[in-house]
């Protein structure tokens, strides 16, 4: 697959805080990689598996995977690819979705242990919530890989970027776009709406980082609005509608996740929208799905105003990194942490 | 002999929207007497009782009991003063056993002793010759059995004043005699029994004094042995009333309904015929299966075997809808659960069974609905401030009239009346008798299930008797007698 050639926003906050100029250049580069990968997921998964699996042998192993939800495209695509990759090593997969419920996930982890799973992969609904169940599994000698969300007690982790880093990166692409679109704006002249969420700690970290980054810019006049449920697209749309009617001069929306971004986009592009000048309006978010990709591509012609997102990496990057962390586990070696990559995705990414 | 007053109700007033249910009523009750309250439906008898028991709060007046004076009662105070009430509506808890119902409220704290409850209940049942399992759940009992449980519950408390609001409405002869026995027993112990009934013959049997009420107001109190039936009726209705059963002779030869070897879950192999223009009485003891037989014919319960013919043609009735379409109507015995829609208006209730005929185009014609309701209001003399009144707020007797109106509106050739005059005052009762007479004169056929021996003998052209789900006999008019019926009814 494609390596981590793009600009990684993960590594440290330092990187994330790099000058906007550099970041914007980097964004252009990353994107190429991202788009290629998305074109042909199946092929690249196979590649990724091959590349990392030269040494992995999961024959006779049972791997339990639990994820927070299968209710969105991205989660689904990643989990499918993960299962494929693990199965390809000869291991068997026990897969469960926790329906965004920590308690359910705890039970699933326990059941996996009972079923005799040799390795657990936990994409936590809430890292602190499952920490104790994970700890018990680890104590019984079952290695647990924390995927995407940090779990303090896990044996090892594969995390592309912390929520805070992704939030900051989202702020960066948003500010880049402001630079290009409103080069002459003075202090406090650009009204920006931030859609935040805080009903999960992870949501809160992301939201805080986005808000912090965007408000660093003196041109920005920031309005914040919080959604109750960041998985409810219709509610997000309603909220954006209400806010834009109250503040028709908003030029940009930054949102904490893909669902809310799609809700916002669906209002702005609808015939009910009061945003006439689509070319000078942008929405930026975190999360990547096919739908978001297609919107970002369409934004070139202003057929969409969703202009950028932060991706945990392409599916095959992610799965490749995931397998890097899995291989030692499958081979009964010492667990290692893998830092995956997160990428900025903008229209240029698809050229 | 002059005994002392144990309870006086003074200037009691109770108002409902549009209705003065009690208007300045004052009555005294003495120790060791059986004191009847008599009045037409809606006269305020039950309301007076509810004021006494604290079930509702009076708007004016005082209650003097046990030397204390109360502006109004609460259930706890009333009970503390030794008042026990058998209400007109069922007041048992289906999810508790018979024993628990009877002992409810006796003990307020601590652990329950079910064994003791059962033995206490068993003792009471044996004493009063009642055959019910104390461990059975009340919801599994028939209405009559429930009534017996209520009576036992009230007398089990050893109260000073026992109120019985139409206790016999659900009962048949043998249980009624049983009840008389109980009441005489209580009287002998110096207790006061307040007794409400629309069956005048009962009053002469057991009461000492009768207080008559009319339209929420007190009329007078008379000694039972110094009055006559006609005087009571005149006082109650406010005018003379012909108290004899309507004479008629209109039985035709055509058979309207023929039932052959019909069995249900509680009936086996019942056969009978009903002629046009005939009123066929159906008698039996509590739980004899009369109600079920009627429901089987009407398609409301499952028929397990047998054939039914209407106008000589074999019919297969699987639902009440089909029965109605074939011209069979049923007035159910349990008016609250099966007879009417308590939360809907009178006019709405009356129109529901023939609403399809009250339309203009596709839509219901409110004027037609109103006209029909007014017709029956006048015909049955339904007492209400308006036709928009909810049926829930009517007195029991008036509710029954609404049920009658509803079934009459369906205009069927065969009408089954299951306990048609239960809880209906004497005036209205005769209106219903006249109405039944008019219906058969038109050539309709009527089956009348009744536990009221007097009306059964007075109204029927022929009587069939059921016992334990089997037909035990048939009596022609010239064979009618209480003894004959009782003999067949207790047939093994």
């Amino acid at each position: 697959g494609c390596g981590n050639s793009g600009s990684e926003t993960t590594a440290s906050t330092g990187a994330a805080e790099s000058e906007t100029q550099a970041a914007s250049e980097a964004a252009g580069e990353t994107a190429t990689g991202a788009s290629e990968a998305i074109e042909d997921t199946a092929q690249s998964v196979a590649d990724a598996v091959e590349e990392t699996l030269g040494t992995a042998n999961g024959e006779g192993k049972l791997v339990g995977i639990t994820v927070p939800s299968i209710g969105n495209d991205f989660a689904l695509a990643v989990t499918n690819a993960m299962q494929e990759a693990v199965t390809a090593t000869g291991a068997t997969v026990q897969f469960d979705s926790a329906e965004v419920d920590v308690t359910t996930q705890i039970s699933q982890i326990e059941n996996d242990v009972t079923m005799g799973c040799d390795i657990l992969v936990v994409w936590a609904v809430n890292g602190d919530g499952v920490a104790s169940a994970v700890e018990q599994a680890v104590n019984q000698g079952i290695p647990v890989l924390a995927f995407a969300n940090e779990i303090p007690t896990a044996s090892c982790s594969m995390i592309s970027a912390s929520d805070a880093d992704m939030g900051t990166a989202c702020g960066e692409i948003a500010l880049d776009w402001l630079d290009q679109t409103f080069p002459d704006a003075g202090d406090g002249e650009i009204k920006v709406l931030a859609i935040t969420a805080s009903t999960y700690p992870e949501a809160g970290w992301r939201s805080d980082a986005i808000v912090a980054k965007v408000s660093e810019d003196s041109r920005v006049n920031l309005i914040e609005a919080e959604v109750a449920d960041w998985n409810d697209q219709a509610a997000a749309r309603t909220m954006v509608e209400n806010q834009l009617l109250a503040n028709p001069d908003v030029k940009m929306i930054v949102t904490c996740n893909g669902t809310t971004a799609l809700g916002a986009e669906s209002f702005v592009m609808s015939s009910a929208s009061n945003i006439e000048d689509k070319a000078n309006f942008g929405i930026f978010t975190v999360d990547q799905t096919d739908e978001i990709d297609s919107k970002i591509q369409a934004s070139v012609n202003n057929e969409s105003v969703l202009r950028g997102t932060i991706s945990m990496g392409t599916i095959d990057d992610t799965v490749g990194d995931f397998m890097k962390a899995m291989t030692p586990l499958l081979n009964d070696q010492e667990p290692v942490d893998v830092n995956g990559s997160a990428f900025k995705v903008t229209p240029e990414s698809f050229n | 002999m002059e005994s002392k007053t144990v309870l006086s109700m003074k200037n009691i007033t109770k108002l409902y929207p549009g209705v003065v249910a009690l208007d300045n009523v004052s009555v005294d009750f003495k120790a060791g007497e059986v004191h009847a309250l008599l009045g037409e439906n809606g006269a305020g008898k039950s309301t007076l009782i509810k004021v006494l028991s604290g079930a509702i709060t009076n708007d004016g007046g005082k209650i003097v009991i046990g030397g204390n004076e109360y502006d109004h009662m609460t259930p706890a105070i009333s009970r503390g003063c030794g008042v026990e009430v058998i209400y007109q509506e069922y007041n048992l808890i289906g999810g508790l056993s018979v024993a628990e119902n009877i002992c409810l409220g006796r003990q307020m704290h601590g652990l329950v002793n079910k064994k003791e409850m059962v033995s206490v209940t068993q003792e009471l049942f044996e004493k009063y010759h009642i055959n019910i399992n104390p461990r059975a759940y009340v919801k599994e009992l028939s209405t009559a059995q429930q009534q017996l449980v209520e009576i036992t519950k009230a007398i089990s408390k050893d109260a000073q004043i026992i109120v019985m609001d139409e206790p016999t409405a659900q009962l048949t002869m043998s249980e009624v005699n049983n009840l008389y026995e109980i009441i005489r027993n209580l009287k002998a112990k110096g207790k006061t029994v307040i007794y409400i009934s629309h069956r005048l013959e009962e009053l002469f049997e057991i009461t000492d004094r009768v207080t008559i009420m009319r339209d929420g107001a007190y009329v007078t109190t008379v000694d039972t042995d110094k009055t006559t039936r006609d005087e009571l009726i005149t006082l109650m209705v406010g005018r003379e009333l012909n108290d004899s059963y309507p004479k008629r002779d209109c039985v035709r030869d055509e058979v309207a309904l023929k039932v052959e070897h019909v069995s249900g879950y509680h009936n086996t192999d019942v056969s009978f015929e009903l002629k046009k223009g005939e009123i066929l009485g159906v008698s039996g003891l509590v739980g004899a299966g009369r109600t079920e037989l009627m429901r089987v014919i009407f398609g409301a319960d499952k028929k397990l075997a047998g054939t039914v013919y209407v106008d000589g043609k074999e019919v297969h009735i699987h639902s009440p809808k089909e029965a109605l379409e074939l011209g069979i109507g049923l007035i159910p015995e349990d008016r609250k659960m099966q007879g009417c829609f308590l939360n809907s208006s009178i006019e709405w209730n009356i129109s529901i069974s023939n609403i399809r005929k009250l339309t203009t185009g596709r839509f219901i014609d409110k004027k037609k609905v109103r006209r029909q309701a007014e017709h029956y209001e006048k015909m049955l003399n339904i007492k209400t401030p308006s036709l928009e009144q909810k049926v829930r707020n009517l007195s029991g007797g008036n509710q029954q009239k609404v049920v009658l109106a509803k079934v009459l509106a369906a205009d069927t050739e065969i009408i089954i009346f299951d306990e048609p005059t239960r809880g209906i005052d004497i005036g209205a009762r005769h209106e219903i008798y006249d109405l039944m007479s008019d219906l058969v004169k038109e050539g309709k056929a009527i089956i009348m299930v009744s536990s009221d021996m007097e009306e059964l003998l007075g109204m029927s052209d022929r009587i069939i008797v059921l016992s334990e789900g089997k037909l035990t006999g048939e009596l022609k008019k010239d064979e009618f007698s209480q003894e004959a019926i009782m003999h067949l009814a207790s047939h093994e």
Binding site: I70, G71, N72, D73, L76, A225, E226, A228, D229, N231, D232, Q233, A234, R237, T238, E241, N242, L245, A246, T259, L262, S266, S270, S271, A272, N274, E291, S294 | L15, P17, G18, V20, D59, F298, A300, S319, P320, K321, L324, E325, L330, P332, M337, Q338, G339, C340, F341, L342, N343, S344, W348, I352, S353, I355, T359, R362, F363, I364, K406, A410
Partner: protein
């Protein structure tokens, strides 16, 4: 005479009065709130909700409750999307098929309630899970988007200043209102809800009425799903679910009894609008999210409570002859 009539009018329309008062208060505190555009918006935003709530109201009047509405809407939304995208059917055909799917799901609920002789609330507690499974299986939990413009227009179009969803709501409300108030079928619904046994003995085919009510409710849920997905431009297993509690709350606010046999279409609409304007108004005056929950809970309690209080007061008041 006139005074008591006014009293009755107030009593019968308590919730409407609460709604109006609420709107006035928000108008005073928020200039944004009081634009025609915002008012129209709130109505449009809640159109799908009102349609679904009318369906639930029908079921409640007939003596049941429907908890499966949200999941049914998800199944319907996904079906329509698949008819258009996977089978390439024209929009109109897809919509008609969607309505049929709705009717089937509804009838299934009603049929099961009859067959198993259990309360519809319990049946729909089970079918809620069942439908969820179906919606996941159908969609493979993918979301569908990129619908044809003619479909999108249902949710986003305007006729003059009035949005298409609002027009749909008005049509639905009038039709269902007439059905309930003016037709025999409507009466039978109240009868079945009021006392099923009495209704059966009065010659009403109770089972048929129940299935029909659920079928009509299903069609309304389909309509709600169409308005929702065409407005949002996408359909998935997550679009729909969650509305069940709101529907029941709206009906209860609108005076539709849990026990059945009582209630009006008007009530359900007023209930929905109270919830809708409350949410919108609180956002407009910039209230914090957490506080919104608390305020909403208190207002629900207060308004339901006040309504009951009013009712008992009028009932208790001495009557004038």
């Amino acid at each position: 005479m006139t005074k008591s009539k006014i009293q009755k009018l107030i009593k019968d329309n308590m919730m409407l009065i609460i709604l109006i008062l609420m709107v006035i208060i928000f108008c005073i505190f928020s200039p944004n709130f009081r634009s025609f555009r915002n008012i129209m918006n709130v109505c449009t935003q809640n159109a799908y909700f009102i349609i679904a709530a009318i369906g639930v109201a029908l079921v409640m009047i007939s003596g049941g409750t429907d908890l499966s509405v949200g999941q049914a809407m998800a199944v319907i939304g996904i079906s329509i999307a698949m008819f258009m995208q996977n089978l390439g059917l024209p929009v109109v055909v897809a919509i008609i098929l969607g309505l049929i799917v709705g009717i089937i799901l509804g009838c299934f609920n009603g049929f099961m309630a009859n067959l198993l002789r259990i309360h519809p609330m319990i049946v729909t507690l089970a079918t809620m899970t069942l439908f969820q499974g179906i919606s996941y299986t159908l969609s493979g939990s993918k979301s569908f988007y990129g619908f044809p413009d003619s479909y999108i227009n249902i949710g986003q179009g305007y006729v003059g200043p009035i949005s298409v969803p609002v027009i749909i709501v008005i049509v639905v409300a009038v039709v269902i209102h007439l059905m309930l108030e003016k037709t025999c079928f409507g009466r039978f619904i109240y009868a079945v809800g009021g006392n099923a046994e009495t209704a059966r003995l009065a010659g009403i085919n109770v089972n048929k009425i129940k299935v029909m009510v659920f079928g009509i409710a299903g069609a309304l849920f389909a309509l709600a799903a169409i308005v929702l997905t065409s407005r949002g431009g996408s359909a998935s297993s997550n679009i729909g679910p969650g509305v069940e509690f709101d529907c029941i709350t709206a009906c209860v606010l609108g005076g539709i009894s849990f026990i059945g046999g009582e209630g009006k279409v008007k009530g359900a609409i007023v209930g929905c609008l109270i919830l809708g304007f409350l949410t919108n108004g609180m956002q407009m005056i910039g209230m914090g999210t957490y506080i919104q929950y608390i305020v909403k809970g208190i207002i629900l309690l207060a308004s339901i409570g006040y309504d009951t209080y009013q009712q008992t007061k009028v009932k208790k008041a001495p009557a004038k002859a």
